[in-house]
Amino acid sequence: MAAAARRSPLACLEALSLAGTLPLALCGSHSLLGQTFDRMLGFLKNPVVVTAEINLSLVALTVMGLMSRLWGLSYPRAVVFDEVYYGQFVSLYMKRIFFVDDSGPPLGHMLLALGGYLGGFDGNFLWNRIGAEYSMNVPVCSLRFLPALAGALCIPLAYQILVELHFSHCAALGAALLILLENSLITQSRFMLLESILIFFILLAVLSYLKFYNLQRHSSFSGRWCFWLLLTGVACSCAVGVKYMGLFTYMLLLAIAGLHFWHMLGDRTLSNVSLVCHFLARGLALLVIPVAMYLSFFYVHLALLYRSGPHDQIMTSAFQASLEGGLARITQGQPLEVAYGSQITLRNVLGKPMQCWLHSHTNTYPIRYENGRGSSHQQQVTCYPFKDVNNWWIVKDPGMQQLVVSNPPRPVRHGHIVQLVHGITTRYLNTHDVAAPLSPHSQEVSCYIDYNISMPAQNLWRVVKHNILHLKLFISACYLSHCSNSESLLFTFFFQWKILTLKNEDTEHKYSSSALDWITMDTNIAYWLHPTSGAQIHLLGNVCTWASANVAAVVYTCLSLWYLIRRRRKIYDIPEDAWQLWVSAGQICVGGWVVNYLPFFLMEKTLFLYHYLPALTFQILLIPIVLQHLSDHLCRSLLSKSMFSALVVAWFSSVCFAYRTFSPVTYGEPLSVAELKDLRWKDSWNILIRKQGR
């Protein structure tokens, strides 16, 4: 072992990552002590030799990928599409201001911010409009570098995946070239967006699982076996950490791992103990580590962001107080415990649908509501979503007359009976057996006006639980029910709830599309338009690749069904090992396409074409698989084989042609109106043509 290690761990790793075809013996391990000892002495006899096998075509592919993704990265020097959205978060990271992005986990944003950090970005840019010119302090190139690099690395990953699926070098080359020439993936990689990073981690997870699985037969529990297993888990958690969409691929890999383990169960040569070990290793690497890593992303996020910011209010008051600025400025030097005579504000802990504070003002409830029910006509108590002087209350001991804090202060404890006095109007918080304005089953809460009134005051409240900044109060079984109502008091046109109804509106977008449009690419997204010349960038796929990917999926499904039914009748069209290859390739590629695509039909959020890209990547991998299968097993004669090859060459040149045709809108080269019109192959594409004289 030592000898092998001496031989060059570095070269070994390098060769692995580059070629993946390194002879096993180089890194293999033999555990017999005597042999090891022999070798330890043996290295003295032989010189230290570094042998590395480098797959030049893989290197060439990587270089071409890097060129296609990195070329002219800082053009256009303007905000492109969703950069306007992610840019805000990068700026907040740079300024260390706390935020919560409700659309996804933080790893993706952190990686983008890493780019900004390396480029020395100070976070000072106003991300408000797509197409706005970047100012000089924005390091455009380094902000876009990481996504572009991830996009470029997808190409060697695709190659390796096909090799690990035991398909030929030629098929692997084809898969890598198809990914290389896919316009939509290029466009998506070249900007500060998350999809290319997501796809990179997804492919990495698939590749490492395949490597792990292929090592399984010969060398379980070897170093490389452990490495690839761990890498699977890590890549999965990174994919989930970039976008929740990564969860689909993670689930797929878990299912495949479960299935493989189920087959292992049937293997009678394995002992029960080794099976338990296998199970625990998989559980640790594929469940425990991803969860731990996922949590660590949030830990890093919180550790990085220590200043108060716009999203503080989503979090609990205690958390807000831990941020620099914001609530901490108020609470700083504030007494920890609430005492009789303390002035307090009460915030509804739930914070849903929005955070609000217990509030009162001089307006009274209307005598009669519109539906005819009566009210107490007492002073209104509401829950107000803004900080206001009317939110202040004083805690009073019902047994004492004074409001001042006694010396020493008497703290309010769990179970104490208190009264709450509204600071501005000096009225007591009161509830009585009158139906609440919107929830007739609950009691009304008011501030008690003690003149001209027939009802007795019921203003004693029991403190049930208390925390630093919030109290939860109730009397008998009556809750402060206002806070949980989403409708406003109709009569008092305070705009407090109006914001709420307007908040759920972001469901429509000019370039949103439905999942069904994606297969046929009936939709596109205009990412950027040059203000004067006709140059523009669109998310638009390689028409030829998309169509052939669909055909490949259909052919795969039909052929599989055909084989399956025939095998059931004990007719075997293809040899058993070819069938196994066909099935395992389908599990990954068709499975990956299905899990990344079908769930969108159930989703109700706004969908865009770029949501389809992970599914598309898997579908593209299927094309060379189907082609190789067809040529190996269906083209029997030499003539048909050569015919088939000629067809494949013709088809591939059409893919290249489509790539060339659409590359101007991929890279944003200036185009004349006539050229733009020529590019509009489908009526549903929204290619922006400047109209004259209108």
Binding site: L259, W262, G266, K352, S560, L564, G586, Q587
Partner: protein, 706 residues
């Protein structure tokens, strides 16, 4: 064979059933020592108890309970033959209506709100019908479990669990769709199981009978509620399994296999489909008078209803200037007033006059026809203001533009111009009443007139918001058609030519139902029942009465039964997994034990557990409002699983055998039934939170509200 194994659920049962079929006869179970006479007696006893428990105090309470207000009302609609709209398919309500009709109910009770007293109206027929179907569930479950497990104690336990479940009793005693749905569902499962047992003598009379009965019951289940789809799935999966087995049996020629295949297509696809369409045909044939459901359907359909203002009228076919028309967003909804809202009912404020954009056509000029692509103005007839839009945000949908009425006596500005376009037509074509789906594009801003589907608050009379959307997308919300059309200069046509075909009506009604179902969204902050509440019996449903003096009925499962079910599901999972692993690892067992284990645990239990999953899991993905009673179909399956589990205990672990669990189970369920029976049969007096109430000690969970 990894792919094949991965592609289907549980390879174990298949192989097992396949071998069973090869043997020719089902193995005579060693566990059925009792003679058939005893079984018949048990069946009689179970049926008797079931009917007794469901019909006990059926007339109480003599007022409308919970959803009776809907389904009773819809039964009355059938008797009165007025057209209505509901989100469920028609069979259940038709049967309720039929039961009412046969028992002499005249359809005059209004069913306005829960708590209304029936007085002299005869409601017992409808309740009795539902209770009858609800009572049939118990013998069905008994027979199913008997067939699956061949064990009398298991079947008896299942039956007693269902007899003594307060929830099932409550749900069967009122005019609801659930007993009808569950009847068909259990019927389908029973016939499927029976058909599987006949598998050794295919194409015999009983085989055909059970196969076609399965199809009939499937059609029934689908025809009552769309939840019936889950049992269709269950039967479908079972059929695919069956066919897969047959295909793998090389003794069968392909011709025989083809016969099997065609028989199933005939009985399980074509027969149910025909029946399903037939019930819609009956539905539309019976409901021929205009009623509250008209506005949900297209204008062409409405013209077929007696009493609708489109019925038997004749209006000019082509639109000309000037004219008055009713514009109607393609599925239901009209426009109105100065604030422009769509209004789901029809009135005079819905009339608009079409004018050319540049001139006021006076009444003497000859008729000009409106063509595709013309630029027009729409003047509101009552207030003489023009339909107008501008770049201000709409009241609710802030990304859209506001639409208003503008100008005095028809004079306005260029923001009043709209281009009229017919969907799928070329420029210059005439626009036809009712049939042309049109789109109105605002000339100045390029936006499209549509209704956003949101209800305006009180100031907007709770009507639907109309906006002008700048997103040029093809959605039904932005399509309109001309409905009323008044123009004295044009010849009138009769609307009979527009009569839609039955298939069109069928498709349209399904679109409307699907839209209605997805429209049942919970409001913000509304406390709704969550699917995870259900198996743990977390919270019930108030059927009737809130206060102490009311006659209260509370839908809540018998907690002992439900928690036993829950426990059994967990136990079943454990046993199934360990059995599967043990079999896969080749643990040394006698072949008899092995067969028994895989048959009981994986095959029979698997079917029932799959049924439970199929009727439960999909609710987690549903966005609509959910209620506790949605769980009851799944609960039937979990009860059957409970029964079967005890049978398993009997078969494999002899220690667990015997009277202890069985008697204990029976005893527990009947004793707890005695404790909780007031939930179903009604209670009066103080609430359970009051110590003086008879139910005082029984509020085991704080979330129960009785």
């Amino acid at each position: 064979m990894p792919a094949a194994g991965g592609g289907r659920a549980g390879p174990g049962p298949l192989r097992q059933r396949g071998t069973r079929r090869l043997q020719g006869t089902p193995p005579a179970s060693p566990l059925s020592p009792r003679p058939p006479a005893g079984r018949r007696a048990a069946l009689g006893l179970v049926t008797l108890l079931s009917f007794a428990s469901r019909f006990h105090r059926l007339p109480e309470p003599p007022h409308v309970c919970w959803d009776e207000t809907h389904f009773g009302k819809m039964g009355s609609y059938y008797i009165n033959r007025t057209f209505f709209f509901d989100v469920h398919p028609p069979l259940g309500k038709m049967l309720i209506g039929l039961a009412g009709y046969l028992s002499g109910y005249d359809g005059t009770f209004p069913f306005q709100k829960p708590g209304d007293r029936y007085e002299q109206h005869n409601y017992m027929g409808m309740r009795g019908f539902c209770a009858f179907l609800g009572s049939c569930l118990v013998p069905f479950a008994y027979l199913t479990v008997l067939e699956l497990s061949k064990s009398l104690p298991a079947a008896l336990l299942t039956a007693f669990i269902l007899i003594f479940d307060t929830g099932c009793i409550t749900l069967s005693q009122y005019i609801l769709l659930d007993p009808i749905l569950m009847f068909f569902l259990m019927g389908a499962v029973l016939s499927m199981v029976k058909c599987n047992s006949c598998a050794d003598r295919p194409f015999s009379a009983s085989w055909w009978l059970w196969l076609s009965l399965t199809g009939v019951n499937l059609a029934g289940a689908m025809g009552v509620k769309f939840v019936g789809l889950f049992v269709v799935l269950l039967v479908g999966l079972n059929t695919i399994n069956d066919l897969w087995d047959l295909l793998g049996n090389l003794n069968l020629s392909l011709v025989t296999f083809g016969k099997h295949f065609l028989a199933r297509v005939l009985c399980l696809i074509l027969l149910p489909l025909t029946l399903y369409m037939a019930m819609f045909a009956v539905h539309f044939a019976v409901l021929n008078k205009s009623g509250p459901g008209d506005g949900f359907f297209s204008s062409a359909f409405q013209s077929q209803l007696i009493g609708n203002n489109l019925h038997n009228v004749s209006i000019p076919e082509q639109d000309g200037y000037p004219l008055s028309c009713h514009c109607d967003p393609y599925p239901g909804g009209l426009c109105r007033g100065e604030g422009i809202y769509t209004y789901l009912h029809k009135d005079l404020n819905n009339l608009w006059i079409i004018k050319k954009h540049d001139s006021d056509a006076d009444s003497s000029s000859p008729v000009e026809f409106v063509r595709h692509g013309d630029i027009i103005r729409l003047e509101h007839k009552e207030t003489s203001r023009n339909l107008h839009s501008h770049q201000h945000e709409a009241p609710l949908t802030r990304k859209h533009f506001q639409v208003t009425g503008y100008g005095i006596n028809g004079t306005g500005d260029s923001n009043d111009f709209w281009r009229i376009e017919v969907v799928g037509r070329r420029a210059g074509r005439l626009i036809k009443v009712l049939r042309s789906k049109i789109r109105l594009t605002h000339v100045a801003t390029g936006c499209i007139l549509g209704s956003s589907g949101k209800t305006l608050p009180k100031w907007g009379w709770e009507q639907v918001e109309v906006t002008c959307t700048p997103y040029v997308k093809e959605t039904p919300n932005s399509l309109w058609n001309f409905e009323d059309h008044i123009n004295p200069k044009l010849p009138n046509i009769s609307l009979d030519v527009l009569k839609p075909s039955f298939v069109e009506i069928l498709l349209e009604s399904h679109m409307v139902m699907i839209r209605g179902n997805s429209g049942l969204k919970p409001k913000d902050n509304e406390v709704t029942s969550k699917p995870w509440h259900w198996p743990i019996n977390y919270q019930g449903l108030r059927f009737s009465g809130v206060n102490e003096t009311d006659y209260r009925v509370y839908l809540l499962g018998n907690p002992v039964v439900w928690w036993l079910n829950l426990f059994t599901i967990g136990l079943y999972l454990l046993i199934a997994i360990s059995t599967a692993v043990a079999l896969k690892r080749g643990v040394q067992l006698t072949s008899e034990h092995k067969g028994e284990l895989s048959r009981v645990v994986l095959c029979g239990g698997g079917q029932v557990a799959l049924g439970w999953l199929l009727h439960y899991l999909p609710f987690f993905m549903m966005g609509r409002v959910l209620y506790f009673h949605h769980y009851f179909p799944a609960m039937l399956f979990s009860s059957m699983l409970t029964g079967k589990y005890w049978m398993l205990g009997e078969a494999t672990w002899k220690i667990a055998r015997g009277a202890f669990q069985i008697l204990d189970g029976h005893f527990n369920s009947s004793r707890s039934f005695y404790l909780f029976h007031p939930l179903s049969y009604g209670m009066i007096g103080p609430m359970a939170s009051d110590p003086s109430s008879p139910m005082a000690g029984l509020r085991w969970m704080d979330s129960w509200e009785f």
